[in-house]
């Protein structure tokens, strides 16, 4: 399993970095033949819409992977971060077989 933790705020300033990070993460998971990615968002203050678009693109990419290289994404959330409940559950709806939300 690959684990990645994000903290702070994912806004316009973090957009390019996040895109690059997700791409590297994807490549790493495929190369390592890992079946699960754990994203720890418990310390993440907010993700703006542009950064969410990058997350969606990544989830969509994972959704379309052939079964042999498929992996799942577990997102660990915090109840203290109230923004997470709706937006991350909405993200899960893009690929319910791929994304799980943990509190």
């Amino acid at each position: 399993m690959t684990t990645m933790s994000l903290s702070g705020t994912a806004d316009a300033l973090a957009l390019a970095a996040l895109e690059s990070l997700l791409s590297q993460l994807h490549d790493h998971v495929l190369a390592a033949h890992h079946k699960t990615v754990l994203l720890d968002f418990t310390q993440l203050g907010f993700i703006n819409s542009s950064c969410f678009a990058k997350l969606i693109a990544w989830v969509h990419r994972v959704r379309l992977l052939p079964e042999a290289s498929a992996y799942t994404i577990r997102i660990r959330t915090s109840e203290k971060q109230t923004w997470q409940r709706r937006s991350l559950h909405a993200l899960k709806c893009f690929a319910v077989d791929v994304v799980t939300i943990e509190t």
């Binding site: 819409s49 969606i56 893009f94």
Partner: protein, 514 residues
């Protein structure tokens, strides 16, 4: 799945994907406070056109999501783009969801895509944002009286569920209270709660009708026409079901009127008319039903052309066509795939429209008809939809020891057996399960009683009844969540308790229902 030619569907996917990209860029510009007024119009138009195209091409999920995003956009515009960031996030996510739905290739499974779940989150975000906006407005303005039109239609789903559960409990308490002041107070409280529940679920018609009118005006401009659409509906509200039916009906009627009925300025000049056409939309509360009239001053209905098209399309034999009355000819307009238009435009002319209007209205117990028409002067369509709330078919009955009318959904098949019959189903003490004390319980089985068996799939329940069991349409007065044991409905003017048998615990005896 779309049944249109593959080429048309492919074209729709391509054009719509580009449209979604434009909408997202426009939304981004709005968020960055650039070129606001023209961008709003463009985003509105693109989203609305996408929705209309999806409807015509049979992409029901795209149609549905675009409709919800239109609501979110209108909220954003109405708030002056002052809203929580979650609204921005959901709009962008919604647009990406649209793209995903559009790009799902034919034959490729859409398993794993949870549109229903996404829509639920989208609505919650919008509802929360509306509540925030309402609270902000309330803090900025002086307190309003309860009779001053203060609305409670922005409760979250969970709050609404709590409210309807509480109202149902009050109804049940009233049902078992002894006559006296306490029962009177419960009666008043129930009536107040019933009114609040109705208010909570009511939908204001004005924003919806105006949105359709704006879209029609935009369509007219795109067609090189001048159309003034007026809307008159006061502060009318409707049940969500009625509002949705009127919304769909108006969309089709306005599209048809704008595209086909209203002439181009040149044509109108030739006919001695003003360059700009008019369409008047009027909504009126007629008591048991809401009425919507859509009157245009366009070409009117040409009965000779109708007769000729009916003959050409083989809708009737030549002899039948010759004998058709004007009223019968007008009925042809509502038949599937019957269109007098020779041109299929982006918006209409496929013969899809008036039959869809009739179908959606009939589903709600409503109707559509041509109220008046005159060649060269225009046409008035009249739409009617019942004012009452959602209906459900139920079996009604009474049980010994209570005067309360009970009901069970007709999803359950009902069978009556003689009292004391041996049946292999656990007996359910309905009154006990609802915490209603029986006024005369116990003793030997009353010969007038019988056993009602309710069966749905593998589930079966039995209860003792002391009345006939009859099938009725019931109006849901206080819709509770599926996990609640009961809710209040109205059957033939009488309030009744609709039970959910699966949630009422059987009292034990598997052999004998008594």
């Amino acid at each position: 799945m779309p049944s249109l030619p593959e080429e048309l569907v492919a074209r729709f996917r391509c054009v719509s994907s580009e449209r979604v990209e434009r909408i997202e860029a426009g939304w981004q510009a709005l968020m960055e406070r650039r070129e606001r007024s023209t961008t709003i119009a463009e985003v509105r138009r693109d989203l609305h056109t996408l929705k209309g195209d999806a409807h015509v091409t049979g992409f029901a999920e795209v149609d549905l999501l675009a409709h919800e995003l239109e609501d979110l956009l209108e909220f954003a515009i109405g708030s002056g783009f002052s809203f929580p960031q979650s609204v921005d996030v959901m709009m962008v996510m919604g647009l990406h969801f649209l793209t995903m739905l559009l790009m799902s290739a034919p034959g490729v499974s859409t398993a794993g895509i949870d549109l229903k779940g996404f829509l639920s989150e989208l609505r919650e975000v919008q509802r929360d944002a509306r509540i925030d906006a309402e609270r902000g407005a309330a803090l900025r303005s002086s307190p309003r009286s309860a009779s001053g039109g203060h609305r409670l239609d922005q409760l979250s789903d969970s709050s609404r569920e709590m409210l309807t559960a509480a109202a149902t409990n009050v109804f049940l308490e009233r049902a078992c209270a002894m006559e006296g002041p306490a029962r009177d107070r419960l009666e008043v409280t129930w009536l107040m709660l019933r009114s609040i529940v109705a208010n909570v679920t009511a939908v204001r018609l004005q924003p919806r009708l105006h949105r359709r009118a704006d879209a029609s005006a935009a369509l007219a401009r795109a067609l090189g026409k001048e159309v003034n659409v007026t809307v008159s509906c006061g502060d009318l509200t409707a049940t969500p079901e009625a509002a949705n039916a009127l919304d769909v009906a108006l969309m089709h009627l306005l599209t048809n009127a704008t595209d086909h009925a209203i002439e181009t300025p040149a044509r109108r000049a030739e006919a001695g008319k003003a360059a700009g056409g008019t369409i008047a939309v009027v909504a009126t509360d007629r008591g048991a039903f809401l009425e919507l009239t859509v009157a245009d001053d366009g070409v009117g209905i040409d009965f000779d052309r109708l007769r000729s098209v009916a003959k050409e399309k083989g809708a009737r034999t030549p002899e039948e066509c010759a004998a058709l009355t004007e009223q019968e000819l007008l009925e042809l307009l509502f038949e599937p795939s019957f269109s007098t238009s020779t041109v299929v435009t982006q918006r209409s002319g496929r013969g899809i429209g008036l039959d869809a209007v009739r179908a959606v209205l009939e589903e709600r117990g409503g109707a559509v008809s041509v109220g008046a028409t005159a060649k060269g002067s225009g046409t008035t369509f009249v739409v009617r939809v019942p004012s009452a709330g959602e209906h459900v078919m139920v079996h009604t009955f009474r049980v010994p020891g209570s005067s309360v009318t009970l009901a069970a959904s007709a999803e359950w098949s009902a069978t009556l057996e003689p009292a004391g019959a041996r049946i292999p189903v656990a007996h359910t003490d309905v009154l006990g399960a609802l915490d209603i004390p029986a006024t005369n319980g116990g003793g030997d089985p009353d010969p007038a009683t019988r056993i009602l068996s309710l069966t749905r799939g593998a589930e079966s329940f039995a209860l003792t009844v002391c009345s006939a069991v009859t099938l009725h349409a019931a109006e849901r007065l206080c819709r509770t969540a599926d996990h609640e044991r009961a809710e209040v409905v109205r059957v033939d003017g009488t309030e009744a308790v609709l039970i959910r048998p699966e949630l009422l615990r059987p009292s034990g005896n598997m052999e004998k229902a008594q």
